[in-house]
Amino acid sequence: MASPVAERNAPAPTPQTKGEARRRRRFPWFVYLGLLPLFALLGLLAYYPAASGVYHSFFDWRPGFDSPFVGLDNYRTMFADDLWWDSFKNLGYIFLVSVTVMWFFPLLAAELVISLKSERLQFVFRTVLIFPLAFPGVVTVLVWSFIFDPNDGMLNQALRGIGLDALAHNWVGDPATALPSLLVIGFPWVASLPFLVFLTALQNIPKEVYEAASLDGCGRLRRVLSIDLPLMAAQMKLLFFLATISVLQFGFAAYLVTGGGPDNATQVPVLRMISIAFEGSDWGYAATLSSTLFAITALLSGALTLIRRKENPDVRAL
């Protein structure tokens, strides 16, 4: 991703002509000294942990004691770990929902905002719609866990209020509804990156295109399908990859609301990894799981970078 823009715009500060001086400049000790603190920190807290995770995945890692080498045993355990693979099934489900339903509402909202004639109203609605983004994620999740509360929760109260007592139940305590409930958190998901990306993309479509279309008698729905969506293909692709990566990290809502239960219905890889390390104290196996997650994410991000190199540079994995 080394952007060539900066390089072209920024030649070295002193274009020395003398060959000798130039050669000296190429190893300016003060530059390396200036970069040293950054790389010391990254070395200790970024490169080393990643390497140590991969290395220790081949050991029966017992931090503080001696850790025997076990070869591929941990990886064999992983392949036989049904819970681990089931948690990926949940991820698949989460992913499907997050690139369909969770995009529908943001897209709808973006289309509606862009349809407003008044600039001022556009700005007001954009601001109001993304306002929930300003709440800390924990607060959103905790408020939603209240909404699902079996006794005092808003959802059951509303159902009882309109006489649908039969429907009221323990949403997050029932394996059948636990995962869908988790995904409903933040409904209608408009305060999100997809909304901002869709809106920006739509705002950047030249008005002339729409005028030409409307002269040709193109209706609103037709315009969405034949103009907006094709023109947003690049952004869609980008969001699609960002979604894969962020879904892989899904976990904190599940931890707070269901703890991975009931009956592992909301088990996800991150929670599984944490419980193996901190409840099972099986650090070697946890390192294996973490290295696997690491490898999958790195692969996906690599693909993303290749795509992004050609396109919109101002969106990044969250």
């Binding site: 603190p37 509606l112 609605f125 008005k207 994410t297």
Partner: protein
């Protein structure tokens, strides 16, 4: 909203009026859809259409914001008021819920603010120097070293959670401020360096030439030229760091067991356990915990959104 978009819309409006002027000049019948009558009825239809759009958007906004409104409303109730009037606000407002909640979450607040502050200082210090050096100096290994920083964008922090925890335990840093601050710096500094480098790379060369002619050294140029000019990036980076501190959950959950050292996210989860069904104080606590980010969003929404989209203010609009 950038000026550019305004310009764009003005030209667009100009085009529209030109088009409609031409349309009305066209004799009726030549353009089946462009006739005067058709246009008038269309504009009446579009006014109704605008109303419908506003209505639907309003409905979406209400649905999205209702949980937070409910939280705010309930934060002023006792449990009795809560049971008697579930959906409606009640009087008197129980402000003591807030003092009760503040008592409990105050330590989390202090920790979070200290952690955010220290992380911002560390991140900005490291990233601004590195960004400047990467953007304005030529040296052997520049591309490789920069590539090594960029590469880290691809690694989500959660993937190295386990080895990082063991490392911190081996260093004996669990249950300390350091264990909260350092990883934040290490993760924020990556994007910060990239943003700084891009930004400093776009500062016109003439400024640096002029400074050099005036006899400014590298550090002097950094202090008097680069730092003041890159305030927007520093703003974005700082905001991003605050957002991260207010959202990071698993790391503080795992490395901190001492109550005083909990940050807001973990503290709130713990606070919830303490107040099981005392909804009033519980929601007062949630509201208090949200305040800093809400204030930042209100006053710095441009930087806030730039931070969310991972860019510079203006680029994401």
């Amino acid at each position: 909203m950038s000026e550019r978009s305004d310009v764009l819309t003005t030209t667009a409006t100009a085009t529209t009026s030109r088009v409609s002027a031409r349309e009305s000049r066209t004799p009726r019948g030549e353009l089946p859809r462009g006739g005067g009558d058709g246009r008038r009825s269309r504009s009446r239809g579009s006014r109704a259409g605008q109303g419908a759009v506003i209505l639907v958007l309003g409905a979406i906004a209400v649905v999205a914001l209702f949980p937070y409104l409910f939280m705010f409303m309930t934060s002023f109730k006792t449990n009795q008021q809560f049971n008697e009037s579930y959906w409606m606000p009640t009087w008197p407002l129980r402000l003591e819920n807030y003092s009760a909640a503040w008592q409990q979450i105050q330590p989390y607040f202090i920790t979070s603010i200290l952690v955010a502050f220290a992380s911002i200082i560390g991140t900005v210090a490291l990233a601004s120097v590195a960004g400047f050096l990467f953007a304005r100096y030529e040296f052997v290994g520049r591309r490789v070293l920069y590539g090594m920083v960029v590469m880290l964008m691809m690694v989500p922090p959660v993937a190295s959670l386990i080895p990082m925890f063991v490392l911190m335990r081996d260093l004996g840093l669990l249950n300390s401020m350091t264990v909260l601050i350092l990883p934040h710096i290490a993760s924020s500094v990556v994007l910060a360096t990239i943003l700084m480098r891009t930004f400093v790379g776009q500062i016109p060369q003439e400024l640096f030439d002029a400074a050099r002619i005036d006899g400014a050294s590298g550090p002097r140029m950094f202090r008097s030229l680069v730092l003041p000019l890159s305030l927007p990036v520093i703003g974005t980076v700082s905001l991003l760091t605050v957002i991260n501190v207010w959202n990071d959950f698993f790391w503080p959950l795992l490395v901190i067991t001492e109550d005083k050292l909990r940050t807001i996210p973990v503290g709130l989860a713990f606070f919830k356990g303490q107040n099981a069904t005392e909804w009033g104080p519980l929601f007062a606590g949630y509201t208090l915990a949200s305040l800093p980010l809400l204030l930042l969003f209100t006053f710095l929404s441009k930087y806030f959104l730039a931070g969310v989209q991972g860019g510079l203010p203006g680029t994401g609009k």
